[in-house]
């Protein structure tokens, strides 16, 4: 009996929410929800992405908005906690957003999908690279334009093809993201016939990476693939590497392309190559960096551009949908084809191939060299 009542009550509440959403949509702004991390472990990563999103919204509004209305970003903090993440997603849906932009980490975004699927709200992560975000649950409302881990490792392998590595080391940390990247990297390496002869983890809060690096040194691999993401633990890795006088080439995931690592591991990263999805020589990037500098008074970096592209993609879909109907917007997002990207290699465009909801061009990842404690030139692009 109680279950029937509560179900009815729930139904009534849901109906009220739908009405509220309808009423909100009828107002004169188009609401887009943004989920970011303002206080948790992913803040250093999520907040720059969100800055880019805010800049894009401002530029679009200055040019008249879309469908004759201004867009309004409703920004919520999920502390990078999956449970909180789902709750704030629901809050955004109740507030009448027509789209959710997920700027926190892969694990949080995964949890938000329960809400986007249930409430049929289109959702996009412009920056997450998690391999299984679009495959774990069949959620037609969810889209991803971050460079997948498999693209990253395949691009690195393509870059090193001439060197014909056979035996390599794989390093990571015990963060969820670090573990995910390592798993994808290992799969990619093994698929390419490269043997991972030593696999080491530096745990969060560690005080030394000497034991791990001694093992790597003893195994004598041809190269070290670094899949870790935690700042302090990466610094331990680089310090131990230098302390033990190692010379083995290091190849890093795109997480190491965040400039913060250059401050933390100052002068320790010279000579290593990293995966990135950012090319400062591109005209789109030059225009973006100029706008960013004007808005925030400091230079932009790759993460900002992910969030910038995210809002542009969403607004483009709304424009092509020609309405605020969430189903139409979803269909328009799925139909995105050759949308010029700020992120990615020269000439990269976002496209969702039929039946797929990952829009990053597999050929769009680049390899950059770190020189003089700065992200230097692009030395390679694509997987071919």
């Amino acid at each position: 009996m109680t279950s029937v009542i509560s179900r009815r009550l729930f139904g009534a509440c849901a109906a009220a929410a739908v009405l509220a959403a309808g009423a909100a949509a009828a107002q004169d702004t188009i609401k887009i929800g943004v989920i970011t991390d303002k206080t948790g472990t992913a803040k250093f990563y999520a907040e720059p992405v969100t800055e880019g999103s805010m800049l894009a919204a401002k530029i679009i509004n200055a040019a008249g908005g879309v469908l004759g209305k201004k867009i309004e970003l409703l920004i919520e903090d999920d502390q990078n906690k999956p449970d909180v993440s789902a709750t704030v997603a629901r809050k955004l849906v109740d507030a009448g957003v027509v789209f959710i932009l997920s700027n926190t980490s892969t694990t949080a975004t995964q949890q938000q999908q329960t809400v986007s699927l249930e409430t049929k709200t289109p959702q996009l992560t412009p920056s997450n690279s998690g391999e299984t975000l679009t495959t774990q649950i069949d959620n037609p409302y969810f889209f991803q334009t971050g460079p997948l881990f498999s693209y990253q490792i395949n691009t690195l392998l393509s870059y090193t093809r001439a060197k014909q590595y056979k035996r390599v080391a794989l390093m990571t940390d015990n963060s969820e993201l670090g573990q995910l990247v390592a798993k994808s990297f290992k799969a990619g390496l093994e698929k390419a016939g490269v043997q991972v002869i030593v696999e080491e983890v530096v745990q969060r809060g560690a005080t030394s990476a000497v034991p791990q690096m001694q093992k790597v040194r003893a195994a004598n691999p041809e190269a070290i693939f670094q899949a870790g993401v935690l700042g302090p633990e990466m610094v331990l890795f680089f310090r131990a590497y230098h302390q033990l006088g190692m010379k083995t080439p290091i190849l890093g995931s795109y997480n190491l392309s965040i400039p913060l690592y250059l401050t933390m591991a100052k002068d320790l990263m010279d000579g290593i190559v990293i995966v990135d999805a950012y090319d400062r020589e591109k005209p789109e990037v030059k225009a973006f960096e100029e706008a960013f500098q004007k808005e925030y008074g400091r230079p932009a970096f790759n993460l900002n551009a992910y969030g910038y592209d995210g809002v542009r993609l969403v607004v483009d879909a709304i424009k092509r949908a020609g309405s605020l109907d969430k189903e139409k917007i979803r269909a328009a997002m799925q139909a995105t084809k050759d949308f010029p990207a700020t992120i990615g290699a020269k000439g990269m465009k976002y496209t969702f191939p039929p039946g797929k909801r990952t829009g990053f061009d597999p050929e769009g990842v680049v390899v950059r060299l770190i020189e003089n404690n700065a992200h230097g030139r692009v030395v390679h692009a694509g997987q071919k």
Binding site: T39, Q203, V210, P232, R239, L244
Partner: protein
């Protein structure tokens, strides 16, 4: 062979940091019985205070002075914490769990305050050391390692002398043995509690400074450090000052030897992550008083 000597230095410097955190717990637990899990956050306070004193643009202090001032500041924070979260509860006759929970609340306040003031990024404490490995006899390590080991040795000798050779130290011991009897003998319980928290905080703050010499740290650094220190304390025992450093060393050695050699005997090296917990369980089951027993129990 050279590998193991390198590893010993690295483990000893990690063990020193764990040992200092264990000592911070111990200094408070002995006279008051209060387990203060906020030590990790105090360590963060010490580190961020040192960072501020060294890098602020108004009055950057010389290195040694900045470290001393940061440690003193953390001691002050310890006094304040005690005044807010411990004394009122103890004086109203709350059970021991009261202050322990109140201190857990304080922990969140410290952590979030640091995040608000300094932001979420890891901060690199400037250090006048290079990274190149140097040799000291047969042992090889970085100058940071040797600095950490030297400083920790000095702190432990100081605290040991305090407990063994001063009237104040005796008062601490007396309170630990029997609170009521100590009070009847004219020992001021309140003062001992204050001294325990100020001392405990200062030690934790110093541990934080040394911890940040290993890598940049952020506002979330407290928890892993508090866990490691607590494990070291369980291993070494809460009874004696020497127990804290012994526990820290055993813990760090076990961790790093597992990380380095475990897979050679068929154990996955990822197991080193579980070593502190495994040690803690083993000791709680087999030897709940830790390796070193308090003197009165031994006598």
């Amino acid at each position: 062979m050279s590998d193991i000597l390198e590893l010993l230095v690295s483990a000893a410097s990690s063990g020193c940091i764990y040992g200092l955190v264990a000592l911070s717990y111990l200094v408070m637990i002995r006279p008051t019985g209060i387990i203060n899990f906020a030590v990790g956050e105090w360590a963060a306070v010490g580190l961020f205070a040192a960072f501020f004193l060294l890098t602020n643009r108004w009055l950057p202090l010389p290195y040694a002075l900045a470290l001393i001032a940061a440690v003193a500041f953390t001691g002050l924070i310890g006094w304040g914490t005690q005044r807010i979260a411990v004394r009122p509860l103890v004086e109203k006759g709350a059970p021991i769990l009261g202050p322990i929970l109140a201190l857990l609340g304080m922990l969140a306040i410290f952590r979030e305050s640091i995040s608000l003031i300094f932001g979420p990024d890891p901060h690199n404490l400037p250090a006048p050391f290079g990274l190149r490995q140097v040799s000291l006899g047969p042992f090889a390590g970085t100058p940071r390692d040797f600095f950490i080991i030297g400083c920790t040795a000095a702190v432990f000798v100081g605290v040991w002398l305090f407990f063994e050779r001063t009237v104040w130290g005796k008062a601490f011991e007396a309170v630990a043995l029997n609170r009521k009897a100590a009070a009847l003998m004219g020992i001021n319980l309140r003062r001992v509690t204050v001294a325990a928290f100020v001392g405990g905080a200062a030690i934790a703050g110093f541990a934080g400074v040394l911890y940040s010499l290993t890598a940049p740290r952020d506002f979330l650094m407290g928890l892993p450090l508090a866990v490691q220190g607590f494990s070291a304390l369980v291993v070494g025992g809460v009874g004696r000052v020497e127990g804290a450093i012994l526990g820290g060393m055993i813990l760090a050695l076990a961790e790093q030897l597992t990380a380095r050699y475990a897979d050679q005997i068929g154990i996955p090296s990822g197991m080193s992550l579980g070593v502190p917990f495994l040690l803690m369980i083993v000791f709680l089951l087999a030897r709940p008083t830790g390796l070193l027993r308090p003197k009165e129990a031994a006598a």
